[in-house]
Structures are given as C-alpha cells and as structure tokens.
C-alpha cells in the first residue's frame, strides 16, 4: 500500500523509478477522496496541479530531489501562488495568493508534490480545529473527537494516511498538540530556522512552520529541506545550521534529560503512567533523568495570551475589507467597511483575541500587561538556559489530556489551558517535537514532548528517532 509508506521510502523508490510519481499521487488522491468527507481534513485538493507535477517528475531527465514524488498537505494559512489561502476564515474565503511561501518553493525544488490545503482553527487561533469557518476536522482515531489544533487538518491528514507529510504552523503548540492527539510526529523548529515568508502571521515572534510525519526520519528529511536562510524574512537565521538527518543515530549514552517534575505534578493517571514509561525508555538507552526547575512555566499561558494576542491584534488589522478578501455588502460608509466586514468575516475566538491584544497594548494597560509579559519572557528564556546547563534535552508531556469530544470545551480559558505544556517552547523559541508514546485505554494516542536548546534541533530529532526505534508507537494506525 503506497499510502502507508513513509516519505523517505517513497522518495527513494521514485528516484529509483520503482514507483512513479503518478502512481503515488493517484494513490493518495484516492485515499483523500474516500476518507476526507468523514474527516474534513482537506479543504481543497489540487488534483490537476499535483498530477501535472507528477508527470513532470516522471519525465525529468536530471536526478530527482530529496522529496521526489512525495505528496505534501499544506495548512491553509500558507501561501501557494494562484491558490486560495483562507486561514479557515470567511474574511479570506476568496483570497488567492499571488506569491509562494518560501517553504513551498523549497519543497517544490526537491520535487515534492503539493497535494492540497488543510483545515485549521480560524487564523490558527485554537486548539481543536473547531473554530474553522469551514466546519471542524475529526480525529481519525475517533470521529467524535477533535484532532487538536490549530493545525488539526494537517495532523488528521497524516494520521489517516491521506498524505505522508504535512505542514502546519505552531504558535503556542499548534503542531505539537494535534500531533500528540493524532498519534504522529509533530515538530516545531527553533524560531528563525524555517522562513515565515508566506505564512499568514498570527504571533510574529512565536510562529514557526512545522511538519507532521510518521517517523522522526521523515521529520528530519523535510526539516532539512526547509531549513534555509530566507532574505525575505528578517527573523530568518542567517548563519548555517546543523542538519538533522546525519544525527539521527547519535548515541544517548551518558546524555541527561531534564524533567520539570514540579510543573507536571497534576497529570491524569494514564498520562502520568505513560510519561514515566517513556522516561524508562531513555534510561534503557543509557541516559540519565534529572529534575529541573522551570517554575516560570506557571505563567506561560498568561504571557502567551498577552503577547501573542498583542501581535495578532495588529497582524490581523490588515483584514479590513479594503484591498482584498471579504467586504460586507451592507457597508455604506468607510466605517461600515471596517466594522461590518470584520464583524461578519471573523468569528468569536478571533474577535476575542484581537480585542484582548488591543487591550493589553492600550494606554494605561501596556505597562502592566504587555511590557510586564515581555520582561517575564526574558526571565523564562534565562530559566530555560539554566535548565539546559543541567541537561541536554527536556522531556514533558505534550498535551494534558487526550483527544476531547468536539463541542465539549466551550469555555475559552479552558481551551487555552490545552497549551500548558507546549507554549514554553514558543515563548523561548526552542525546538520541540511531539512523538507518539502510547495510547489510552480508549485507544487514543498519547504524545511525549522533547524540547531542546535553541538551534539544537538535531538533538531533539535524534532523541525522537531512537525512542521510535525502541517503541514503534508510530506504526499504529487508526481503525477504518
């Protein structure tokens, strides 16, 4: 079954002409046609373009690239020339991007096949993909439950084998958390490693594009392809970074992993048990586990919902019905264009965050909220640095709970708490990955999070790879 093959194997076979890109593409398109209606993972597939690209790859004379013939699903907040980028929102429901995101250029250069755009919480704001204007996405492991968010569509697509690789974006955990809830690898690179040019900005100093895959090797493959300095993104790292692939098999003997026990004391029982078993795996590979102090993580949600919303309130100001996107038909005056287009075009969660962000920046409140949060952020970065003096990598759960029923979490604040373990890495710009590490009694996936020092993504992927070799949780697939 072609669609069960990992990306690196597909690429290998296509390069060796054992498989044609056309076969591969058709195989996945068939899967999508069959399974997507019940999942709503994909908003759109680019059948014609994908088959066209496959044809070109199959007739190419020159050696093929690292992702030859590999179909990749793209979260619908990443631009592809000539295609819609809706961000899961009515206000951009008719917006066609006139330029490619840098990552798309990089993937296409390696002969990948962009197969379609996936569902997300509107403007990437959410942890359940329930806030999309185009309906929720379902978790392939249990169709009544959420795949997590905001990159739920991409996660579900990979989990259900509708694509071997997918891109999401992670601002507070939006790749890692759905990765955990869907039983796959979800990775957030170090801030600055992958270009943000062409990613619709939510929280500019937090956002990173991150991949989903079935194996650490595939994460390494696609991350290495996308790790390139981008002159169109001023926050793109300008010096060379260590690639991930050559370090996958580095030994963990004598290496130290840190666990912030104090911070994760209230884990649900199944999760606590699973976490402790994961630690034993690393110990069996020769590593040591030590306790580390990350007490400031207590404030991570507070910091995040002040800082990311502040940035978002300005990043989303451009969606005003004037130059592109949706303009309210009822608008008679200029004020109407603004007020009504934004009121009709965006849903409650987005409005809430915009107003919250506006609040924390407004006169009289900026010192107590925005500036204070920026200072605590500095303290957190320093606390992480001190923790990394005691250990090489940090281990934590990814999500505090398993995939929840769609519609079961109505309170915004409660939804925000889903990100409690993931947000720290965004605040400090650290590389972090969720790896499949077990199942609940209801056969719902559990994820383990590995966090590394800034720019040491290869260490994170190495640990993930060796864990995978020992445990094989990634080989499980959802029923049906």
């Amino acid at each position: 079954m072609t669609y069960k093959l990992p990306a690196h194997e597909i690429a290998d076979k296509v390069r060796k002409k054992e498989l044609s890109a056309k076969e591969v593409t058709l195989s996945f398109l068939a899967q999508i046609e069959e399974k997507n209606p019940s999942l709503n993972a994909f908003l759109r597939t680019h059948n014609e373009k994908a088959l066209d690209k496959a044809k070109k790859i199959d007739s190419k004379k020159e050696p093929l690239g690292r992702l030859a013939g590999v179909p990749i699903a793209i979260k619908d907040n990443i631009n592809i020339t000539g295609e819609l980028t809706t961000c899961g929102s009515k206000i951009l429901s008719n917006f066609k991007a006139p330029f490619n995101a840098t990552v798309i250029d990089l993937l296409e250069k390696e002969d990948a096949i962009i197969i379609g755009k996936t569902n997300l919480d509107e403007f990437a704001m959410g942890s359940s993909t329930e806030h999309s204007a185009f309906g929720p996405t379902k978790n392939p492991w249990n169709l009544h439950t959420s795949p997590g968010g905001s990159s739920g569509g991409s996660a579900a697509a990979v989990a259900a084998r509708l694509a071997p690789l997918a891109l999401g974006s992670d601002t507070g955990g939006s790749v890692r958390q759905p990765g955990a809830l869907c039983g796959i690898y979800g990775s957030k690179p170090s801030y600055g490693r992958i270009s943000r040019y062409g990613l619709v900005a939510f929280g500019s100093s937090f956002d990173q594009i991150g991949p989903f895959a079935h194996s650490a090797k595939d994460i390494a493959l696609i991350t290495d392809v996308m790790s390139k300095h981008c002159p169109k993104d001023s926050t793109s790292i300008s010096f060379d970074l260590e690639p991930l692939t050559p370090h996958l098999e580095d030994s963990l003997q004598e290496k130290t992993f840190g666990v912030p026990w104090q911070f994760i004391e209230n884990l649900e029982e199944e999760f606590a048990t699973s976490f402790k078993e994961s630690l034993k795996v690393f110990e069996s590979l020769g590593a040591k586990i030590v306790d580390i102090d990350l007490s400031l993580l207590k404030y991570s949600i507070s910091m995040y919902y002040i800082l990311s919303t502040a940035e978002a309130s300005t990043n989303l100001a451009r969606f005003d019905g004037i130059r592109y996107g949706y303009r309210s038909e009822k608008a008679d005056s200029l004020n109407d264009v603004y007020y009504l287009s934004r009121e009709e075009g965006m849903q409650d969660e987005v409005k809430r965050r915009i107003m919250l962000g506006t609040f924390v920046l407004s006169a009289g409140y900026q010192d107590a909220y925005y500036k204070k949060a920026q200072k605590v952020r500095t303290l957190l970065i320093e606390q992480y640095k001190r923790a990394f003096e005691k250990c090489g990598l940090i281990l934590m759960p990814t999500s505090p709970y398993k995939a929840f029923e769609i519609g079961s979490i109505k309170d915004p604040l409660q939804m925000y708490l889903a990100d409690i373990y993931t947000i720290g890495a965004n605040l400090a710009g650290l590389p972090a990955m969720s790896v499949p590490s077990g199942f609940t009694s209801e056969k719902l996936p559990i994820g383990l999070q590995i966090v590394g020092p800034h720019l040491k993504d290869e260490k994170v992927c190495n640990a993930a790879f060796l864990f995978e070799k020992e445990t094989g949780y990634n080989t499980h697939t959802p029923l049906g």
Binding site: K96, P98, F99, Y191, G192, S205, S234, T235, I237, S238, L296, Y299, I301, S302, M303, Y305, I306, S313, A317, D320, G321, I322, R323, Y324, G325, Y326, R327, A331, D332, S333, L334, N335, D336, Y339, L340, R342, E343, D348, K351, R352, I354, M355, L356, F359, S362, Y365, K372, A373, Q374, K375, V376, R377, T378, L379, I381, D411, P412, L413, A428, G429
Partner: protein, 97 residues
C-alpha cells in the same frame, strides 16, 4: 486587577474596528474578564530591572539590511482585480466624510 466593563468592550470594539451586538458585548465582557483575571497572575512575578524581550533573536542577530534594488512587484491588474471594488486604477472605498 483590571475590570472589563461594557464600556471597556465598546472602547476595544472601536480601537479594533469590530462591530458587536449588545449580546456579544455582554458575552465578550464576561469572557475577557475571565481571561484578564487569569493573566493577572503575572503581576506576582518580580521583574525589576529585567529587560524586555522583543523577539527571541534580538540578542543573537541584528535586523538584516537589503541592497537598494527594485525587486519583485505585484502585477497591477492582479492586485486591482482581487480588490472588492476598484475604480480608475484605484482601490475604491466609500467617501470619507
């Protein structure tokens, strides 16, 4: 401890140009109050003398400066045709009173 009143919401609605129904104003006031009360947790952290973090890279890198060369431009017709309303090569908006 900040209080989010209906007035606060009306002011935020103005600053962010989002129209709200009376119903929505009440709901948002409640939601925002809950959230703001939660994030007020931050007030207990001692931050005297700590510098602000503007971006995690701001101690590592400087802002890059590009050469003064004309680069990619947007096709005029593409831009205008994707505007909700256009007139005489301009993006049309209702008159400003």
């Amino acid at each position: 401890m900040s209080e989010i009143t209906l007035e606060s919401i009306e002011h935020l609605s103005l600053l962010s140009r989002i129209a709200l129904t009376e119903e929505q104003k009440k709901q948002f006031a409640q939601d925002m109050q809950d959230i703001v009360s939660y994030v007020d947790l931050l007030q207990e952290v001692e931050v005297d003398g700590t510098p602000l973090c503007h971006n995690v890279l701001d101690t590592l890198l400087h802002t890059p400066q590009r050469e003064d060369i004309v680069g990619e431009t947007l096709e005029r017709s593409d831009f205008l045709n994707s505007a909700p309303k256009q007139v005489a090569g301009l993006v049309e908006v209702p008159t400003i009173l």
